[in-house]
Structures are given as C-alpha cells and as structure tokens.
C-alpha cells in the first residue's frame, strides 16, 4: 500500500532531499521513524503523536503536535490545519530544525533565521491573524507554567503582561493611553528575539550529523 515500500525509493528520496536539504541517510532514518509512529500507514494522525510516552511530561506538547498539522508550516500560504500528514509534510516540519551548514552566506543565514522564527511565530499565533495578541501570549506562558499548579496561573498572567509591555515599548515606543497595541507582529517578533541566536540554537543534533559520520542512533 502506498508508494513508499520498505526498500528506500531512491528517486522520491532525492526529490525530498532537494526540497528539504536533508541527506539521503537522514531521510531514510526519519522515514523509518515515520513508519513506526504511523504504524506502517501512509499518513500520520494527531493520536499517533500523542502516543509517544516521553511527550507526556512536556508542557507544550499540544502546541508541538499542532505545529505538525499546521498548514502554514508546509505550504507557502497555507491556512488552517489538517487532520493527517504524509511523510513529505513530516519531513518539511523537521527541516526547520536543521542546523546551518558550515559555510553559508549572510543572506542564507538571515533567511534560515526568518524561517525558524516564522515557525515559532506560527506556534504562538494560533488564530493566524498575523499578530500574537495578549491572550495568545498569555496562553503560551500559561502552558509553559502549566505544571506548576495554581501558583502559576496568576503569575503567568503577570509575566505575559510584562513581556507584552516590553515588546510594545521596544517596538512602538511611547504610546498615548487611548492607543491600543494590537499584538506582536512578525517583524517585532524578529526584533525582540535578536538576542537569541536562533539559527544555532534551534536545531537537533541528530539531523546535523554529517553523512560521512556513521549514524549510530538506531530508531528503536
């Protein structure tokens, strides 16, 4: 069933490799994992991801799972979310976590940075209106503190508010009291996270391994 047999189909892998930038070996390994998660079916559903045990203790697991099914992450102008994804979409989302190659130009670095930050932005901006509103940001902080009980909720609000104030003051400057700050736009998001070197921090080592180095990790 399906065109992905147990033997690696070279041609399909090559196109994927060109599209996402992974090496053939990495694609093969990820494909194995995909098959394992989806129980050898062709598409992956949310429930399949929810079965991963290690994710249980992660406070932002729902947002992570959502990110895989968010059309904005694998289509240029996608809107909304899907119920199930194929291997290609899985790989596309994973490609956001690649590390920058050794010798890349400044523009490529900037492009990569924007792409990664766009991914993060999409994770926060759940209603896809192009801005992260106060409510959405509050939700983010609440989820982060979700495992700390009642103590978290009030302080979460306070923290989110302080964070929004900071963004507003950095991006917009002094505001009259009747002006209303809509939310964090993507450009402002880029600006406030300038301090974190996203292109180097947001990566998984595994996906960075050179093809020449033996990949010892077996996906169990």
């Amino acid at each position: 069933m399906g065109s992905f047999q147990s033997l690696p189909d070279d041609h399909q892998y090559r196109t994927l490799s060109q599209k996402t930038g992974f090496s053939l070996e990495q694609i093969a390994i990820l494909h194995n994992r995909f098959k394992q998660l989806s129980q050898n079916e062709e598409t992956l559903r949310r429930d399949d991801l929810k079965t991963i045990q290690d994710l249980e203790s992660n406070p932002i697991r729902y947002q992570i799972i959502e990110a895989f099914f968010d059309r904005r992450n694998f289509q240029k102008d996608g809107v909304g979310s899907v119920e199930e994804i194929g291997f290609e979409e899985f790989l596309t989302v994973m490609s956001y976590f690649r590390a920058p190659a050794h010798r890349i130009t400044e523009e490529q670095k900037e492009e990569m940075r924007r792409a990664k930050l766009r991914f993060l932005f999409n994770m926060h901006d759940t209603d896809n209106d192009g801005t992260i509103t106060l409510e959405e940001y509050r939700h983010v902080v609440e989820e982060l503190l979700s495992r700390s009980g009642a103590l978290g909720r009030e302080t979460a609000k306070g923290i989110a508010d302080a964070a929004m104030l900071e963004v507003a003051s950095i991006s917009v400057g002094p505001m009259a009291p009747d002006e209303f700050y809509e939310g964090i736009t993507f450009e402002q998001f880029l600006k406030i996270l300038k301090g974190i070197e996203i292109e180097t921090r947001m990566h998984i080592r595994f996906l960075n391994m050179d093809t020449t180095v033996l990949c010892k990790q077996h996906c169990v």
């Binding site: 994710l55 983010v140 902080v141 700390s148 003051s169 950095i170 505001m175 009291p177 406030i192």
Partner: protein, 767 residues
Amino acid sequence: MELKMFILVLGLLVGSLMPLGGAASSPDTGTGHGGSHGNKNPGNGTTYSKKPFPVLSFDYEHVRLPFEISLWVLLASLMKLGFHLIPRVSSIVPESCLLIVVGLLVGGLIKMVGEDPPVLESKIFFFYLLPPIILDAGYFMPIRQFTENLGTILMFAVVGTLWNSFFVGGLLYGVCQLEGHKLAYVDLLSCLLFGSIISAVDPVAVLAVFEEIHINELLHILVFGESLLNDAVTVVLYHLFEEYSSVGSITFMDVFLGIVCFLVVSLGGIVVGAIYGILAAFTSRFTSHTRVIEPLFVFVYSYMAYLSAEVFHLSGIMALIACGAVMRPYVEANISHKSHTTIKYFLKMWSSVSDTLIFIFLGVSTVAGPHQWNWTFVVATVIFCLVARVLGVVGLTFVINKFRIVKLTSKDQFIIAYGGLRGAIAFSLVYLLNPKHFPMRNMFLTAIITVIFFTVFVQGMTIRPLVDLLAVKKKQETKRSINEEIHTQFLDHLLTGIEDICGHYGHHHWKDKLNRFNKKYVKKCLIAGERSKEPQLIAFYHKMEMKQAIELVESGGGAKLPSALPSTVSMQNIQPKKPSQDRALPQLSKAREEEIRKILRTNLQRTRQRLRSYNRHTLIADPYEDGWNEMLLKRKKMKELEKKISQMNNYLTVPAPPPDSPTITRARLASDPQAWGLKSVTESIPTIKVDLASPQSPESVNVVDEFSKKGSQPKEEEGGLTMKVPSPAKQRKDKTPDEEPQQRLMRCLSDPGPAAEEEDEDEPFLP
C-alpha cells in the same frame, strides 16, 4: 594632590617593613629582653631587685607573624587602590603587570637593606591564596555556557595540556642533549616534568587579564574553563614524573596507571566537591532563623571540600569548582538577600586580595629566589611554549569544529592561543621540587619565571589592543529580557519534544530528564519551603522585579525606569478593549477626561508621598527581607483594589499617563481655572464625587480616599485629603525639565519602606 598623599603613605608603609624585618630577624633583642627577666627569678629565689614598673615596653616578637601578614595585605590593597587613582596607566597596563613590578621593587628594597626577602611559600600559596580565587570562579560560573561547551573545554584542557607537556618536554630534552651547552645532565624525565608544569594555563593569570578586556562569553568560558580543568592533568603528570624521575625510567604499566590515576583524580575531585556542595545546600535549608551565619557555611564547606580533596591528592581545584557550582542554585533559593550580597562581596574581596598578593609575591620571589640563568634553556623554553600552544590550539580546533555547531573562527583561535597565560601555580609547583633530586631546580625556576613574565607582560599588555584591532566580539552588556527568557524555556521544551518525536535520545532529552529529576527529588530535599516548587520562569520574573524595585529605590525614583518595565506604555495600551456598554450617560470629552485623570493622579501621588514621609525615620520592614510572602500578599491586595477601581468607572482608568506624554501637554494647554467650573462633569461620573467647581474644595475624592485607606492599613490614617488642584496644574505649566526636579525632590522625600512594592507592579502607577 590625592596621589601625592597616597604615595607618601605608601612610602611610610614600605619603610616600616624594613626595620620591622630587621627586628624580626634579630630575635636576640626580644629573647634577650625576656631572658633577662627569666634569669632573674630562678637565680634569686626570694629576693630580687625591684625594677621600676615598665610603663611602656616594646615587644614585637609576640605579634610578629600576624603583624607582618596584615602589613603585606595592607600593602597589597593600597597598591590596588593606587592603580585606580592613576587613570592612564591602568588602561594600558593590566593590573597584574603593575603588581609584579611593585613586587620587584619591594623585593629589591628589602634586599638592599640586606634582609632576605620572603618567598612565596608553596604551602601558603596552595592553602590560603589559591582557594578564594577558585571558589569565586566556581561559585559564579555560568553553568549554561560551561555545559554547552564542555566537550570543547575538555579537549583543550586534557588533550591540549598533554600535547603541550610532551612537546615542550621532548624538545627541551633534545636541546639539552645538544653539545656545547653543558645541559647534558638534564634527563628526559626531568624535562618532561618541567614541560608538564609549564604547560598548564593558569586560572589566576587568565582571570586577571581577561576580566579587564571584556571579551565575549564564549571565548572567556573556553579559556577560563580550560585553565580550571587542566589542573587534574597537571596534578597527575606532576606526580607521575616526580615519582619516577628518581628511578629514571617509566614503564608502560606506569603510563597505564597514570591514565587511571587521571580519571580517579578528576572524577574523585568532582565527587568530593559535589558531596560537600550537597551538604552545604542541605544545611542552608535550615538557616532561616540564623541568617547571620549563612555565608559562613558556604565558605567553610567549600574550603573543607578543597582540603579533603587534597588529603587524597585528588584535584582540589576541581573539587572546589564542583562544590561551588552544585551548591549555588539551592543555596541561593534558601538564603536571604543580604546573605547573598555578603557572599558575593566576601568572595570578590578575598579573591581580589589573594590575586594581588600572589602577583606581588611573584615579584618579590623573583628578586629573592636562587637563580641560575642559562640562555639556551630559557630562550628555548619560551619559544617552545609559544609554538606548542599555537600548534595545539590550531590542531585541536580543526578536530573540534567537526562536532561544533558554532564553529571557532581563526580569530577565536588566535585569542585562545594568545590567552594561554602562565602564572603562579607553575611557579609554586617548581618551588616544591626537592633540590636534591632535581639539581637543575634553580634553572627551572629561572626559566619558569621568565615564561611567566613574558606571558603576563607581553601577552597581557598586548591582548587588549589586539582584541580591539581584530574586532573580536565583546561581552554584551544587555540585560536579559523576559521575552528572551520565555523563549529560551519554550525552545528547550520544543527541542526536547522534537527529539522525542524523532525518537532520538539526544542532548536535550537528557537535559530535560535531569531537570525533571532535579525538580522532583533534589529540590524538595534541598530547598526550604515553598521555593522548592517555584518554576524557573517565575523565579526569574521575581528576580527581575526585585532588581527593578531596588533600582527604583536606589535611583530615588527620578531616573528612567529600566527598559524591561517601560514607562511609556501602560497596561491599558495592551488590554483588549472591553466591549463598549450602552452608555446612558453623556460621555466626557477627551480634555475633561485628561483633567480628571490628572487630578486623581496628582492626589494619589501626593497621598502616597505624604504617607511615605511619615515613615521616613521608621523603617518598618525591609522589603528585601523574608517578608517576600507578605509583599506578594500586599501586591495581590493592591491588584484587587485596582480591579475594583477600574470596574467602578468605565471610562476613567486609574493608571494615568506619564507626565511627558502628549496628554499632559494637552492638559497643560487646556488647564485654565475656568475650565474647572463645568457642572456637567459632576453629573456624568457615576461614583466619583468630584466637585470641580471650587478648586479649593475640601471634599475628598472617594476613590482616592478608599485607595489610601486600604493602602495605609499599617500606617496612620490621613484625614481629609484636600485637592490642591490648581497649584500642581500651574506648576505643570512649566517646562518639563522643571517638572523633573520637582518630582525628584518629592521622591527623595519619600521613604522606600513597605510602600516600595507599589512601584514594582506591572502597571507603572506613577510616572
């Protein structure tokens, strides 16, 4: 003028060292004095000639040791003071160089007088001078960067030091074997021993120089981490070669044992340090009633860790680092703010004094120490050290870059190679050598001193202009913003999640597991009370708020608030607009709204000032003390109150705009006494009874009163607030610069008592 006075005092001090030194070295006077007394009594049992009662006597002997130590410490500290009084010199020459020069001068002076200058004894160095510096470094080590770069640091520390030792030792042996230099008596093992001593990068020297050049964190942690971790390698190599140089040969078995020894020494040191760290953390859990001795536990446990490691000849430095790093997160959660400050200042003070003393003594020992100058040996040593360092760094970086995400550029490599300074540890280790076993000890000593001088003077002095020339990234002074903190945490969880989805048990997965283990079990044991459950983000947020509160208080409220809590944007700007309810009442025009807001604000401000000025002389509670919970409670109360106020009136929000916003200019322009006389205002406001008709109305504003009532529970009730509306309005007509000093003055009069917490809420209530 200041400088001249200072030099005079200094001269007197140094001058006093000499005769005291002379008095010390001639104990005959002292004992003679005592002896004559002693002789008297046994000689004549019953009768003794009565001497006049000694009103004033000179007995230097019995305070000699502490006196001299104190004098040296005083000299060191005065030197440090002096350098910072001379502005130009301290920006060109690093402090360590100046101190060595001073040491040379003092040693020279002492020698001229004919005395024997004191030498930096190894015992004093290793037991008293080195631990404070290392503890200071270990306690304040940035753990995150250290663990991120641990692989690189270990490579440089272990492999780099080994390479250096063998390269230098081997080549020196080769040079010694060359004919015509009379160095044939230096055998291979001695050369290797010398190589191992001299190849270790010294943490004291690195700290002293790197601290002044403010280089970026990555390079700092690389060089500094290397200098700390190579201690284990140095210890093992030193003992290995020292043991066997008398025998004359080393077998393969010894090498193997050496490797095992290395593992034992380093891991053992870390384990010992960690044990003491956990003990210290556990002890700090119970110190809530005896806050005064909290810093003592930190110091004593760390010192014990160092000494215990030294008992077994494990790496004391690694024990100390491990102890400091392990205990810090738990101890900081348990101890009071004041203890935290005390620990910080004591550590900095001790390490600073140690550092100064070490360099001065290095200078003095140079003058004192027995020297044997041999051109070939010394020059060869210097050259080989440099070459070895450069080759080592370049070679290792080539290998390391294959595994690093953030590659090390050649600029980075240059700085790492150039920053490999040698220092007093090498000197002390050579000094410990037994001259009987090592007849060439004096030559070693001379060579080491030359290398140390070379690295500290030449490299230390030129590194700063080179850093500027090469435009190496400097340390970023930006404060960590709350957005960055939120996203750092978010990223951590995100990456862990992705790793789990990939099925790959990597870096983040294990870090996350460690964190969870820490949270679940360790924190519960080691942190007292409620703080054990506090997640990191909340702790960060509280810390930030506290810092701002302190800053605000310190600046007297007149200065600009730090950027994290901007005064230009307030809560109402970001609050989602409430759905506009049907207003049966006529709306206020904007100008009236502004005026009313202004009135309320001024009155609230004055209320608060008045309330606070009552407590100017009575500090009820220190907001930074254990009343943290009370502070939170009070803040909650305030927040509830504000909610009530904001709910009371739909279109008058109490958080008022800051004075320099456009609203005030509007208000200023609009405020003329006639404007107050509009009766329609009073009817349109539902709950606030503001009689604007008469400016000097004695009626109090309900809202304000209620607020002040709630806020002044611990304080005296203020009766009857009057609204002196026109006067502040008139004063406000002045330009903004005049406004500022007035506000500042008002703030200065206010006492940063418990009311300080009102100022560190998210919504900047006061401008």
